[in-house]
C-alpha cells in the first residue's frame, strides 16, 4: 500500500466522524472501549469495505449507559492503517508468519535448553483480551514451566490485588458502579477520576446532582479536576494514606461506630489491628501532623465517615503506585470491614482499574505470583491446574515480577523475552535501565498493533497484532463485568490476534495438542471450565467462578451480554456485590484484619534531590500515546510533556512559566514545559506519564521514576521519587507545523504533536541550527517538489520564521525565537486541515504571525476536545451572551456537553 492511500484512509476515517451521512451500508456492532477500566460499551456503525466507522456509546451497556469520554469518542480517528504494524519483521526485514513464529519457537526452545526454563519470560499487558492472556499464561506456566510472565498490570493494579488477597483471601472487588447512585458519601482516594475514568466521574457527578445528600471527598496531594465536585479536598502528604485510614479506624472505634457483630462473625485479627492503628494514629492531631493536614479537615472527614452508613471508597493509582500500596489498600478495607459497610447497596471499597482488561488478566492469573484462575502457587493448586491442563511441566513457584524481570534481564538471567501489547521502555520505572536491559537481552520479540514504539525499536522480531477494532474476545472491567469485545473491522494487513500468535508458537514448541483452538470461544470455554474445576468447599473454593459458561455455545458467546461474575448455577445472571454476609475466601471464610503502620516512601528527598516527583495521566491521552496521539483532537488539550510546580518552588528553583525545565533524579533526566500552578503541594512536582521517544526527545518520565516497589505487591512507587529541577537554558525556542513528518535529529528538545492533517513539533535547543530551510526542504522533497518560501527575519532579535509551499499549498511553517513566548499554534494547524481550502492571500500574508488575519476567529487553546471548542470561543460566548453557568456555555457553544471532562476548565473561565 502506498503512503498516499494510507493518507486517504486516514482522511476518510476522520471525515466520517464529522459527516455521518456519507457512510453507506452500515452494520452496527456492539463492543467495548479499549482504554481505561471503566469498560464503556460502544456501538460502532461500520462500513467494513471502506474501514469507515462511527463510534457511539452503547446505551444498553450497564457500565456506561451510552456515555463515552473524549478518548473513547475519538476511537474512529485512531483506526487509520498508516501507523500500524502490518507484517512480521525479523531483524529489520519483512518476514512471513511461518518463518517468524518458527524462529520465536526455536529461539525460546534453544534458550530454555541452554539456560533453563527460567531464562525466558513474557511481559504482557492489560490491553490483552482474556483469551489472549489465558493462552500466554498457560504456555508459560503450564508448558514452558516457568512463572516468568508478568504484565503492565504490575505497574497499576498489583497493590490492589495483594491488598485484596491479604484481607479477603482473594482478589475480589466487592462493589459496583450502581453503588454510585446509592451512596451518601463517596471518597475518592488517589484518583483523578475526572481525567482517568471520566465516565465514572460523570456518573458520580450526576448521582450527586440527583442526590443532594451525597457528599464527595477527594483525597489527593493535588487539587485535580476531580476536586470540582468535592465537598472536601484532603491534600494529603504523599504516601501517608495508611496513617489517615488508621486514624479513621481508631476514630470509628473510639466513637463506637464499628459494627461489632460483623467483625465478630466475619473477620479475624481486629484486636491486634485496632491496637496497631491506635499506635500509629491515635487521634486527629497525630493524623494531622503525619499527613500534613489541617485538623478540621481530618475531623470533618472522620465525622462524615462516621455519620454516613452508605459510604463508598474508590481508589486508584495514588494508592496502588506506592511502596506501601498493599498497606494503603488494607487500611481502606479495614475501615469498611469494621463498619460492615461492604457488599451492601451504596457502600464498600472499590478499586478503579486502570486498563480495560487488567481484571481479565487477574482472573486468568497472568501475573508472576499467580498461577491461574484465582489460584496461587500452593501444592494442591499446582497439582489441580496441572491435571486440568494435562501438562508435563508446570511452574511451581512465582516468577519474576515486572521490575525483577527487567533487573534479571539486565543481569543477563533472562535471555529471551516476548513483550506483548505494551511499552516498558516508557512505562517502567528507571526506564533507561529497562531499555538497557532489553538491549542486552539476546532475543527480543515484541508483538504490537502499531509500527513504532520505543520498545519495538529494540525488537529482533516484530509481530503484527490485531488492533482494538479487529480483536474478538472478552474483557472484564473494574466492577467484575465481563463484556464481549467484538471485531468491527477485518484484520488489517498480515495482523493476527494475540491468541493466534501465541498458540502458533506453542504448537511449534511442541505443545500442539494443548493449544488446539480454532477461535476465542474455544479458549473462553476452557477458561470458564478452569474457573469451575474443583471449585467447591471440599477442594478449593474460589470467588472467580464462571462455571455456567463452561459449555457456552458459539452463538451464546457471540451474543453474550455484559455480566458481573460470578456466573454459575446459583447466580446465572451474575452478582453485583460481595461479602455483605461475609463468606470470604480464606481457609476460615473470615476476612483477615492485618495490623498496619504508616511507612514513608522508600526514597526521601535530600539536598541533592529536594523535591518529590509525582506522575500520572492526563485527560486526553492513553498510556504511551500509540493510539490516542493519532486522534488530533486528543493532542490539543495538553500538547507537550509538562511539569507542574508551585509558584513558590518555581521562584526558588528559578524556573518560569512556559519555559523549559530539566528534571533530574538519581535514575534519569527529562525535559518538560513548566506549568506554574498552586494545585499541588509545595515541595512537589507533577509530570504526565505518557510521552515517549516517538513523540519527544527527552520527555520520558519513566526514566526519572525510582525502582522502589511495594514489598508485597512488587508494584513500583511511581508517585514518589526525589527529584531536582533546574531551568533549561535554551538559546532558542521554536516550533514547526508540517504537512509531512520530519526527522529532527540533533535538537535537544523536540516534541511531536499530531494534528488534523499536520505534524507539529515543539523545539528548543542550546546549539544554533543553521540551514533550517534546506534541512526541511530535503525532507519534504519526496512529498513536494519545487518548494517556494516565505521568510521573516529580524536578525538582531534572532527572530526567524519561514513557511514553504508547493504552488499554493502550504507545506510547513517554522517559527524560531530566543524567547519561549511563541505565536499560537492552533490557527496555523487549522490551515493544514484536510477540509481547508487553499490559503486566501490575507491568510498567506498573516501566516508567520501565527494569528489569523483580521476577521478570522482565533479560537484559542482547545478546552473541549470532543467538540473542538477553544478558550477564546468560550470566553467570547460568555461575554456576548452574559453566560454564568457551564450549562449555559454548553448550550451556547456545545463545550462540555459530551464527556464533560472540561467542565472544571469552563468553570474556571466563568469565574
Amino acid at each position: 500500500m502506498t503512503n498516499n492511500t494510507q493518507q486517504n484512509i486516514a482522511i476518510n476515517t476522520l471525515s466520517t466522524v464529522k459527516n455521518i451521512s456519507t457512510v453507506n451500508t452500515l452494520s452496527t456492532i456492539k463492543t467495548v472501549c479499549p482504554y481505561c477500566g471503566v469498560g464503556c460499551g460502544i456501538s460502532a456503525a461500520v462500513d467494513s469495505t471502506s474501514r469507515e466507522v462511527i463510534i457511539q456509546g452503547d446505551e444498553q451497556h450497564p457500565s456506561s449507559f451510552g456515555r463515552l469520554c473524549s478518548k473513547g469518542s475519538s476511537l474512529a480517528e485512531t483506526l487509520a492503517l498508516s501507523s500500524r504494524l502490518l507484517t512480521p519483521w525479523i531483524n529489520g526485514k519483512k518476514a512471513d508468519w511461518s518463518t517468524a513464529t518458527s524462529l520465536v519457537a526455536e529461539r525460546f526452545k534453544q534458550t530454555i535448553e541452554k539456560y533453563g526454563t527460567d531464562s525466558v519470560a513474557f511481559y504482557g499487558s492489560g490491553q490483552l483480551l482474556t483469551e489472549d492472556y489465558y493462552v500466554a499464561n498457560k504456555l508459560m506456566k503450564g508448558f514452558i514451566g516457568s512463572a516468568n510472565i508478568d504484565t503492565n498490570s504490575r505497574l497499576c493494579m498489583s497493590s490492589s490485588v495483594s491488598g485484596h488477597k491479604r484481607v479477603f483471601g482473594t482478589d475480589t472487588v466487592p462493589a459496583c458502579y450502581e453503588d454510585y447512585e446509592h451512596a451518601n458519601l463517596i471518597i475518592l482516594v488517589g484518583s483523578n477520576t475526572a481525567w482517568c475514568h471520566p465516565v465514572s466521574f460523570q456518573r458520580i457527578k450526576t448521582a450527586k446532582e440527583n442526590n443532594p445528600a451525597l457528599k464527595v471527598v477527594v483525597i489527593d496531594p493535588r487539587k485535580t479536576a476531580t476536586c470540582d465536585i468535592a465537598d472536601l479536598h484532603i491534600p494529603i502528604k504523599v504516601g501517608t494514606d495508611v496513617a489517615l485510614f488508621n486514624g479513621l479506624l481508631s476514630y470509628l472505634y473510639q466513637e463506637n461506630t464499628i459494627d461489632q457483630s460483623y467483625i465478630e462473625q466475619h473477620t479475624q485479627g481486629f484486636e491486634e489491628t485496632i491496637t496497631a492503628a491506635q499506635n500509629d494514629a491515635f487521634n486527629i492531631d497525630t493524623v494531622s501532623k503525619k499527613c500534613q493536614l489541617a485538623t478540621h479537615v481530618v475531623d470533618t472527614f472522620y465525622q462524615w465517615f462516621k455519620d454516613t452508613d452508605k459510604t463508598l471508597t474508590l481508589y486508584s493509582q495514588g494508592v496502588n503506585q506506592s511502596s506501601s500500596g498493599s498497606d494503603k489498600v488494607g487500611a481502606i478495607l479495614h475501615c469498611h470491614l469494621a463498619t460492615g459497610r461492604i457488599g451492601k447497596l451504596g457502600c464498600g471499597p472499590f478499586s478503579l482499574t486502570g486498563q480495560p482488561n487488567a481484571m481479565g488478566g487477574r482472573e486468568v492469573g497472568g501475573l508472576a505470583n499467580q498461577l491461574a484462575a484465582h489460584m496461587d502457587f500452593t501444592d494442591d493448586n499446582i497439582d489441580r491446574v496441572q491435571r486440568f491442563w494435562q501438562s508435563d511441566k508446570i511452574a511451581t513457584k512465582p516468577g519474576y515480577t515486572a521490575t525483577e524481570l527487567f533487573d534479571a534481564m539486565h543481569e543477563g538471567k533472562i535471555k529471551a523475552v516476548w513483550i506483548m501489547a505494551t511499552n516498558p521502555v516508557v512505562s517502567m520505572p528507571d526506564a533507561d535501565k529497562v531499555k538497557e536491559a532489553i538491549e542486552k537481552c539476546d532475543f527480543v520479540v515484541v508483538s504490537d498493533c502499531v509500527a513504532n514504539t520505543d520498545t519495538l525499536d529494540l525488537a529482533d522480531v516484530k509481530l503484527p497484532a490485531a488492533g482494538w477494532s479487529e480483536k474478538d474476545g472478552t474483557v472484564t472491567n473494574s466492577e467484575r463485568r465481563i463484556s464481549r469485545q467484538r471485531a468491527i473491522l477485518p484484520l488489517a494487513g498480515e495482523a493476527k490476534p494475540d491468541w493466534w500468535i501465541i498458540t502458533q508458537v506453542a504448537k511449534k514448541m511442541g505443545f500442539g495438542d494443548n493449544f488446539n483452538y480454532q477461535a476465542p470461544v474455544d479458549i473462553f470455554r476452557e477458561h470458564a471450565s478452569l474457573s469451575a474445576f474443583e471449585n467447591n468447599d471440599q477442594q478449593a473454593l474460589r470467588d472467580f467462578d464462571i462455571s455456567l459458561l463452561a459449555n457456552i455455545s458459539n452463538q451464546e458467546y457471540d451474543d453474550f451480554q455484559p455480566t458481573q461474575w460470578p456466573i454459575n448455577d446459583e447466580k446465572p445472571q451474575g452478582q453485583a456485590r460481595f461479602f455483605a454476609d461475609g463468606g470470604f475466601y480464606t481457609p476460615s471464610r473470615k476476612a483477615q484484619f492485618t495490623p498496619l503502620k504508616v511507612r514513608a516512601p522508600q526514597n526521601q528527598p535530600s539536598k541533592q534531590w529536594p523535591l518529590v516527583l509525582n506522575t500520572g495521566r492526563i485527560r486526553d491521552q492513553w498510556h504511551t500515546m500509540t493510539r490516542t496521539a493519532l486522534a488530533s483532537r486528543l493532542n490539543q488539550h495538553k500538547p507537550e510533556p509538562f511539569v507542574e510546580i508551585t509558584s513558590a518552588d518555581a521562584l526558588s528553583f528559578g524556573v518560569q512559566q512556559g519555559h523549559l525545565a530539566q528534571l533530574e533524579t538519581a535514575w534519569g533526566k527529562m525535559l518538560a514545559r513548566v506549568e506554574v500552578t498552586d494545585t499541588l503541594p509545595q515541595g512537589s512536582v507533577f509530570v504526565p506519564m505518557h510521552w515517549t521517544a516517538q513523540f519527544s526527545s527527552q520527555g520520558r518520565m519513566g526514566a526519572l521514576v525510582n525502582p522502589a516497589v511495594d514489598p508485597l505487591s512488587k508494584q513500583p512507587e511511581s508517585k514518589h521519587t526525589p527529584v531536582n529541577i533546574s531551568p533549561y537554558q535554551a538559546q532558542w525556542y521554536g516550533f514547526i507545523v508540517s504537512r509531512h513528518p520530519l526527522v529532527l535529529d540533533g535538537i535537544d528538545y523536540t516534541v511531536l504533536v499530531k494534528g488534523d492533517g499536520y505534524y507539529h513539533y515543539e523545539l528548543a535547543g542550546k546549539k544554533e541550527i543553521h540551514n533550517w530551510q534546506s534541512h526541511i526542504a530535503n525532507q519534504l522533497e519526496p512529498h513536494s517538489k519545487k518548494l517556494t518560501w516565505q521568510t521573516y527575519l529580524d536578525e538582531k532579535k534572532s527572530l526567524f520564521r519561514t513557511a514553504c509551499f508547493t504552488d499554493e499549498l502550504l507545506q510547513a511553517v517554522l517559527i524560531l525565537s530566543p524567547h519561549s513566548e511563541l505565536p499560537e499554534r492552533n490557527w496555523l494547524g487549522s490551515l493544514f486541515s484536510p477540509t481547508k481550502e487553499s490559503l486566501q492571500p490575507d491568510e498567506r500574508l498573516a501566516l508567520l504571525t501565527g494569528k489569523p488575519p483580521l476577521g478570522t476567529p482565533d479560537v484559542g487553546k482547545i478546552i473541549c476536545a470532543c467538540f473542538n471548542v477553544g478558550e477564546k470561543t468560550i470566553l467570547s460566548a460568555i461575554k456576548k451572551d452574559n453566560l454564568s453557568t457551564y450549562q449555559e456555555v454548553g448550550e451556547s457553544c456545545k463545550a462540555g456537553t459530551n464527556c464533560g471532562s472540561c467542565v472544571s476548565e469552563i468553570k474556571a473561565l466563568l469565574a
Partner: protein
C-alpha cells in the same frame, strides 16, 4: 493697497503655494502667474496614467483657467509668456513677449528639466523626455504608428513610460546602467521582484547596459540604439528618463545665489529677501527634490511667510515614493539601505510577489521598502515621522497595523 506677487512657473509647487496663500491671506496680493506651458495647472505626477490611457488630460487638471479668473489671478501661460529676465533692482519680471510685471514679492517655481545625456544622436527626431503634456502627446503619436521604443533609465519615470508605451502596443526595452531597477527607491530583492513582474507584462530589460550612440536612419530620425559592447537594437522612439536637473538658468542669470539648485533658507527665501523659491528648482540644506510630498510642505511654509505669519519653517522629512504602474505596488521611504548601526526586519514571499523591509535604528524606523503589499506604508511613515519607539511592537511590526488593532481587541476580550 495690495502688494504684487509674481509667480514664475505654473507647476505643482508654485500653485500649491498660491492655493495655501489664498486660503490664509486671500486679499493680501495681486497675483500674477507665468507659465511656459499653455494650460492651467495640472498634476504632472499623473502623466503616466495619461500615457497608459487610464486618464485623460482633463482628468489630471488641478486648476483650469476659470479657477485663475475666479481667484483674480492673472495667468500668463504659453510659450511666449516664458519669463526671460528678472530685474531685481526694478523688481520686475520680463517675459519673452516683452511684457513686464512688477513685484513686491517674487516666487520662483521653475521646476526641473529632464536631463538629456549628450550621446551622439541625442538631437535626432524620435528622442524625447518624459516631463510634460507635450512629451506625452509625442509619445502617444509615435505609439500609433511605430513599433520599437527604448526607454533609457530604470527609475520611476522610465518604468512608468515603459509601462505606458507597452500598454499602447509598442515593443519596449528598458535600458538601465545598473543591475537594480529603481535603485533610488528599492533594494535588490524588491527590484528583482519588480523586474520579474514587468517582464511578465511584456517589458524587456537590458540591465547594466551602457548606451554609446543613437543611430540616424538617414533622415534625421532615430532608427537604432547602439551599446558600448557593439550590440544594436532597433528603435523608433527613444525616451530619455535619466533624471532631472533643477531649472535654475533664470535665477542664475538674475544673480540669485545658486549651487545645484536655487539656494533657499528654512523659510524658502533665496539670498534676495524679496524672492522666494519652492519646488524642484531649489536646494535646501544641500538637498534637491524630485518627488511631490516635500514640495507641498515647502509650499505651506512659503505661503506662511508670504502671508506675513512668519512662523513656519520647512524641514525635509523622508518622503515616500510610489510607482504609478497599475497593479504593481511599490513603496519606499527614508533610508532603506541602512548602515552598520541599523538593523533590518524583512519579510519576503517572492512567489506571492511580496517583500517588505524595515530599517530600524535605536528602536525607530528609519527606512521602509514595501513591494506587493504596501497597505501599511502610510502607517510606517507615521511611525517614522512621529519617531515612535517600536521596541514593544517589533515582533509583529512588519505584518502591519492590523495586528496592533487586533491586539487591542484581544485585550478587550480577556
Amino acid at each position: 493697497m495690495k502688494k504684487n506677487l509674481v509667480v514664475i512657473g505654473n507647476g505643482m509647487a508654485g500653485m500649491k503655494t498660491v492655493e495655501e496663500l489664498l486660503s490664509s491671506a486671500k486679499d493680501q496680493y495681486n497675483i500674477t502667474v507665468f507659465g511656459a506651458e499653455p494650460y492651467g495647472n495640472y498634476n504632472r505626477i499623473m502623466l503616466s496614467p495619461v500615457l497608459c490611457g487610464e486618464k485623460t488630460i482633463d482628468e489630471i487638471m488641478i486648476n483650469n483657467r476659470q479657477w485663475y479668473q475666479d481667484n483674480d489671478i492673472t495667468l500668463n501661460a504659453g510659450e511666449n509668456k516664458e519669463v526671460v529676465k528678472i530685474d531685481r533692482t526694478k523688481q520686475v519680471v520680463i517675459a519673452k513677449d516683452g511684457s513686464q510685471v512688477p513685484y513686491d514679492r517674487l516666487l520662483i517655481s521653475t521646476g526641473s528639466k529632464p536631463f538629456i545625456i549628450p550621446f551622439k544622436g541625442h538631437e535626432l527626431e524620435g528622442v524625447v523626455a518624459f516631463r510634460d503634456v507635450f512629451d506625452v502627446n509625442k509619445m502617444l503619436s509615435y505609439s500609433e504608428t511605430k513599433k520599437y521604443a527604448v526607454v533609457l533609465g530604470g527609475g520611476l519615470l522610465g518604468l512608468e513610460a515603459a509601462n505606458g508605451l507597452t500598454q499602447r502596443g509598442m515593443h519596449v526595452t528598458v535600458v538601465h546602467n545598473l543591475e537594480v531597477l529603481l535603485n533610488l527607491q528599492l533594494d535588490k530583492v524588491a527590484a528583482q521582484l519588480l523586474q520579474l513582474e514587468l517582464e511578465n507584462r511584456g517589458i524587456n530589460f537590458m540591465m547594466e547596459a551602457n548606451t554609446s550612440e543613437l543611430v540616424d536612419d538617414g533622415n534625421g530620425h532615430i532608427c537604432a540604439v547602439k551599446f558600448d559592447d557593439g550590440v544594436q537594437i532597433p528603435c523608433d522612439l527613444f525616451v530619455m528618463a535619466v533624471g532631472v536637473r533643477p531649472n535654475i538658468a533664470l535665477a542664475q542669470s538674475a544673480g540669485i545665489h545658486c549651487e545645484r539648485g536655487i539656494v533657499v533658507s528654512d523659510t524658502l527665501q533665496t539670498y534676495d529677501p524679496k524672492i522666494y523659491s519652492v519646488g524642484e528648482c531649489i536646494q535646501h540644506r544641500g538637498d534637491i527634490f524630485g518627488v511631490v510630498a516635500p514640495l507641498f510642505e515647502q509650499a505651506k511654509a512659503c505661503a506662511n511667510h508670504l502671508s506675513g505669519h512668519g512662523v513656519a519653517s520647512y524641514k525635509t522629512l523622508p518622503s515616500a515614493t510610489k510607482l504609478k504602474v497599475t497593479g504593481i505596488n511599490v513603496y519606499s521611504l527614508g533610508d532603506f539601505h541602512g548602515d552598520e548601526e541599523s538593523e533590518m526586519i524583512s519579510f519576503s514571499d517572492p512567489s506571492a510577489s511580496v517583500y517588505k523591509k524595515l530599517v530600524i535604528k535605536d528602536n525607530h524606523i528609519i527606512g521602509v521598502v514595501l513591494y506587493g503589499d504596501t497597505g501599511d506604508g502610510a502607517w510606517y511613515q507615521s511611525l517614522l515621522e512621529q519617531r515612535m519607539n517600536i521596541e514593544d511592537m517589533r515582533e509583529l511590526l512588519i505584518f502591519g497595523q492590523r495586528y496592533f488593532q487586533q491586539e487591542s481587541i484581544a485585550a478587550d476580550l480577556a
